[in-house]
Each structure stands twice: as C-alpha cells, then as structure tokens.
C-alpha cells in the first residue's frame, strides 16, 4: 500500500499505463491515507466519491490504451482554485459554503488530462501568510519534526496544505499558488519541489485573487520531473485572462535533459543577509559546488534593490488585495451577517468573515491607496518594483540562472511567529523578489538542517525560461540526492 503512496507521478504514470496498477487502487490508497491524516489538517475537504468516479473514468481510458498526460494521477487542489460543485473557501469564513458553478482554467486543464481530484487543501486565508496559521480551518502541521522533538512545526505558507500533503504522501502532487513565495517557501520547509512559473504562464481565471499582479499558480511535487509534468498540463494561454500570455507551452519534460557545461550561474550577493544561519550559508555554498562540479561557471552578481522588495511587496500586495477582496460583502455569495442597514451588514460580515491577518492587510492596502498617501506609498512601491525588475534584467544579460537559498531558516514552531506579523513577513525575503519581477522560480530540496529539517535551494530564471529551471533543477536534485521523507507520526 505504502509503495503506491511513494510513487512519483512519472512512476505511477508508467504503472498505470501498463495496467500494473489501477487508477482506482491508487486513488483509494490515497483516500485511506487522508482519512488517517487529521492530525496534519492538510485537507479541509476530501472528495472521495468524486475521486473514485474520476479514477474509474481514468481506468476506462487507460484500459482502452488511451489517456491524457496525467491520466489516473491523484492530486490535491489548494482551496484557492474554484472547483465546480465542490465547496471553495479560500480557507476563509467569509466564503461560507460557496460552491462554484465553474472550474478554474488550471484545474480544468488537469482534469482534461485525466487527473483525479482527491480533495481541497488547506492554505493561509486568501493566500495571506507564510505558515498556514491564518486559515479559518486551523493550521496545517508540518509532517517533518526536528530530530528527537515532537514540537509541531509550520509547513510554510500560504500553500502549506499542498506542501504538507505532497510530503506526507497524501497525494502525488498538488496545485498551489505563489504571490510572494507561497509555493517555494513551503516546499522548502517540507522537502518538496515547488515551482512558480513566469507571471502569465498559467491562467488566473477561477483562482481566488489575492494580488493580481503577483499571483501565479504552480505545482508542488516530490521531484523535479513531476513538476515538469504537472506544469506542462497546468500552463496554457487563456483568452479569459488578459494577463495570460499567448505563448505555446514547451515540452517541459524534454527540458529536463542537458548538462550544465558553460552555463553561467549568478550568485546575488544581496541574498547574503545579516544574521543568516550558518547552515543556510553552508547549503548555499554546497549548491554552488554541485553546479560547479557539473561544469557551470559561477559568477558573483548584484541585485542592488533586493532588500526593498519585501517592503515594496507589503505595499503593492495589500493594495491590490484590498480592492480584490471588496467583493466579499455578503450580497451575492458566502457569509452574511445581518445589520440594521447595508453599511452595517457589510461591516459585520467582513469583520466576522475575515481573519486578523486579512483584515490587517486590507486595512494597510486601503491606507496606501487613500487620498494623500497614494504617491508616497503605492506609486513609490511600483517604481521600486521597476528598479527590482531592471536589476534582474541587467544581471540576466550576464548569467543564465541565479542560485539562492529558498528560506532564511528551516521550519519554525506553530505559534512562534504568528503574533508578530513583521517577523512572519521576513520568511519571504528570498522569494518575494521573484514575484515582484514576474520571473519563474523553483525550490529544490537540497539538504537537512542540523535538526534534521529540510532546507531548499532556489533557482531563479529569466522570464519564460522555465526550461532552464527544469534542467538546472534536475541537475541540482541529482547532485543533492535528497531522499528525505518525514517519519510518519500522524496516522
């Protein structure tokens, strides 16, 4: 049974095709594991009936020698993706029992390719968070624990449920979204692969919007090949999304091949921050050596505006969010708390329905857009963003890819940082620059901390150069030989 759960997508795909295993037994094995995983709280809504029906349909196709790129592959879906007939909450109270009559483009692509939906995954409320502790459904617990400790750790966020489920073998892969690091950082904390594509590569239609100019959908998987397989299906040009780019989707699996000889890898000096734990520094150096050993040329580069990315992000993202979340007002769907008049209905509904972090960000966003402050905050931040993007463009004239750590620390304890929003924001220090510039990034599990917790390395690529990230990521993964798997304490 557990061998089924330990398969990668690539392996499962093969066995399904040869009918060595059936889609149904693969789905069932996962559903059973999910049943026993309440302690992790990764799934907020398992969809067993749907999963089995989809698995059966897949088996029919597979038996006839047909089937799509993900036929019969069981996946989890972050509850930010609208799924037809299946409750979608964005992990907030304010959506109530909202049940979409429509499917997000990204998940539709997956179902069209034959994938099977196991259920909706927990996340930070409206994708706002770096630890999956802001969810209205309670926190997700990292399946990893420090050696000799039973302290509960965060899986990272906002896609904590996705990363947890993949690491804990509760799905073969999961959809996630990344606005400031929400795919890569939890992947880093859970020893999984997290891929954020170039802004515009995946459609945002049907994905609950947090920050429109930053949000991107992407996969969390156990290895780089699986990420390539999933992204190849998730990505598409969508005429329903004006920001979706009209470019053909390359064969990402084919891109996994290729050596690194002559490749120029940039090491941005500004990512070496004060107080960075030694082991992170050491892992980074290790990553540099791995690539050098494979023939890559290492270059020190500078991205001078790096440190301003995080504060600029915490102006732009809340600003866009304050506007995107204005539609949650109790009129057309979701929670409604009555009031004497329409204004109090709005105010009661939104104060009851939004959690503290969401309220904080909506308020910050409202403030930085308000009369008299727009120039000093929002406009300023958008100008800084242009500088950040320009930094990358300059650097990418000399190098092909950048290597950085994914996170400034391994996973920390539940409850440790949630009381201090600023300290929570600092988790995204290495990832947020990538969203601000609209570039692609991947986190690859690279090693363990002194406490035995996973640590990731991040590769950043040029716009639309996902293929480079898959190639270098695959070579990095091979060198790292990360075989870590969390010890099962939760079943």
């Amino acid at each position: 049974m557990s061998e089924l759960l330990d398969l990668t997508i690539a392996q499962a795909r093969k066995k399904l095709k040869t009918r060595d295993i059936s889609a149904r037994e693969l789905a069932q094995a996962h559903l059973d594991a999910i049943d026993k995983s309440a302690a992790l709280n990764a799934y907020i809504l398992p969809t067993p009936d749907k999963a089995l029906a989809m698995a059966d349909a897949a088996d029919q196709k597979l038996s006839a020698g047909e089937g799509g790129a993900l036929e019969g592959i069981p996946l989890g879906v972050k509850d930010l993706f609208c799924t037809t007939g299946v409750r979608t909450t964005a992990c907030s109270k304010i959506l109530g029992d909202f049940t979409p009559t429509y499917e997000s483009t990204v998940t539709q692509n997956l179902w069209d390719a034959g994938a099977v939906m196991l259920g909706k995954l927990n996340c930070d409320e409206f994708a706002m968070g770096s630890s999956n502790e802001t969810s209205a459904f309670g926190p997700v617990i990292n399946p990893w624990r420090a050696s000799g400790s039973d302290k509960q750790l965060v899986p990272g966020g906002s896609s904590g449920g996705s990363a947890c489920a993949v690491a804990a073998r509760l799905c073969l892969g999961a959809t996630a979204t990344d606005t400031g690091g929400s795919i890569r950082q939890p992947a880093g904390f859970t020893g999984t692969v997290g891929f954020k594509p170039t802004y515009g590569r995946c459609s945002r239609w049907g994905v609950v919007a947090f920050a429109s100019s930053l949000d991107q959908a992407g996969p969390v998987t156990r290895d780089v090949r699986d990420a390539a397989i999933m992204l190849g299906v998730m990505a598409s040009h969508d005429p329903k999304d004006t920001t979706s780019l009209d470019l053909p989707v390359p064969d990402y699996e084919a891109a996994l091949e290729g050596g690194l000889k002559g490749l120029k890898v940039g090491i941005p000096k500004e990512y070496r921050v004060d107080g960075m734990p030694e082991e992170i520094e050491a892992l980074w150096q290790q990553g540099i050596d791995w690539l050098k050993d494979q023939g890559a040329e290492i270059k020190q580069v500078s991205l001078p505006h790096t440190k301003y990315a995080l504060p600029a992000y915490y102006i732009v993202a809340p600003a866009e969010a304050s506007s995107n979340l204005a539609r949650y007002d109790g009129v057309r769907y979701g929670l409604r708390i009555e009031g004497d008049d329409i204004i109090s209905m709005y105010e009661n509904t939104r104060s009851e329905g939004f959690g503290a972090e969401v309220q904080r960000r909506v308020m910050i966003g409202t403030y930085v857009l308000s009369a008299g402050y727009y120039d000093a905050y929002y406009l300023k931040a958008q100008k800084v963003r242009t500088l950040i993007k320009h930094d990358f463009e300059q650097v990418f004239e000399d190098v092909d890819v950048l290597l950085t750590p994914t996170t400034p620390s391994p996973a920390f304890g539940i409850g440790e940082r949630i009381g201090d929003p600023l300290s929570m924001y600092l988790n995204d220090i290495f990832t947020v620059t990538v969203n601000m510039a609209g570039l692609p990034g991947i986190s690859v599990p690279a090693g363990l901390s002194s406490d035995g917790l996973p640590l990731g390395l991040q590769l950043i690529g040029k716009a639309f150069d996902e293929e480079m990230l898959f190639r270098v990521g695959a070579r990095l993964e091979e060198a790292a030989e990360f075989t870590g798997k969390p010890e099962k304490w939760w079943a």
């Binding site: 920001t243 504060p311 009129v331 057309r332 939104r350 104060s351 308020m363 963003r385 993007k389 929003p421």
Partner: protein, 95 residues
C-alpha cells in the same frame, strides 16, 4: 507614527470592516509597525523611474463584440444568502 485612532476608524470605514473600540489601539500599533517598516522605501531614489504598469510587456488581448455569456440567472444567484425572483436582496438602501 503614521496613523492615529481616528485614522484607524476612518480606514476601517472605507474598508467596510467593523473594528471594536477595544481593538482600535492594538490595530493601530500593528498598522504603524508595518507602515514604519515599509517607509524604508523612502531611501530609494526613484526620480525618473516609471511605476510598473504591466508585469510582462504585451498588447492587451481584446474580445469581439459577441454575446456569448450570461443567460444563467439561476447560477448567478445560486450561492446568494437571500434572493427574490432572481433578484439579490439586501437591507433597504436609502438614496
């Protein structure tokens, strides 16, 4: 300190979020901490820098003027807390 309690109440009203009197002070502290921190952007020289208007350079895709949507009132009101004959119902609004 960027915002005072009156500001917090004003922002909350603009954002249509009810803030209990007891919470105003705490919220004020939290907001100010964040605003003080983001203020470091003042260090950056942005003279002659254009704000980012589009993340990727592309022409805006347009639609043709065809009616290919709508005609699904039942779906539209399906999730609404209160409806009447396919209208959304809200507390009486006085203009």
């Amino acid at each position: 300190m960027a915002v005072d309690e009156a500001d917090v109440r004003k922002i909350a009203r603009l954002a249509r979020i009810a803030v209990k009197q007891d919470d105003v002070a705490t919220l004020r502290g939290e907001l100010n901490k964040i605003l003080d921190w983001v203020a470091q952007l003042d260090e950056v020289n942005t003279d002659n820098v254009e704000p980012m208007t589009s993340v990727v350079a592309a022409d805006m895709k347009k639609r043709q003027d065809i009616v290919n949507d709508g005609d699904k009132a039942a779906d539209i009101v399906k999730n609404a807390p209160e409806t009447q004959d396919h209208y959304f119902v809200v507390p009486k609004v006085v203009e």
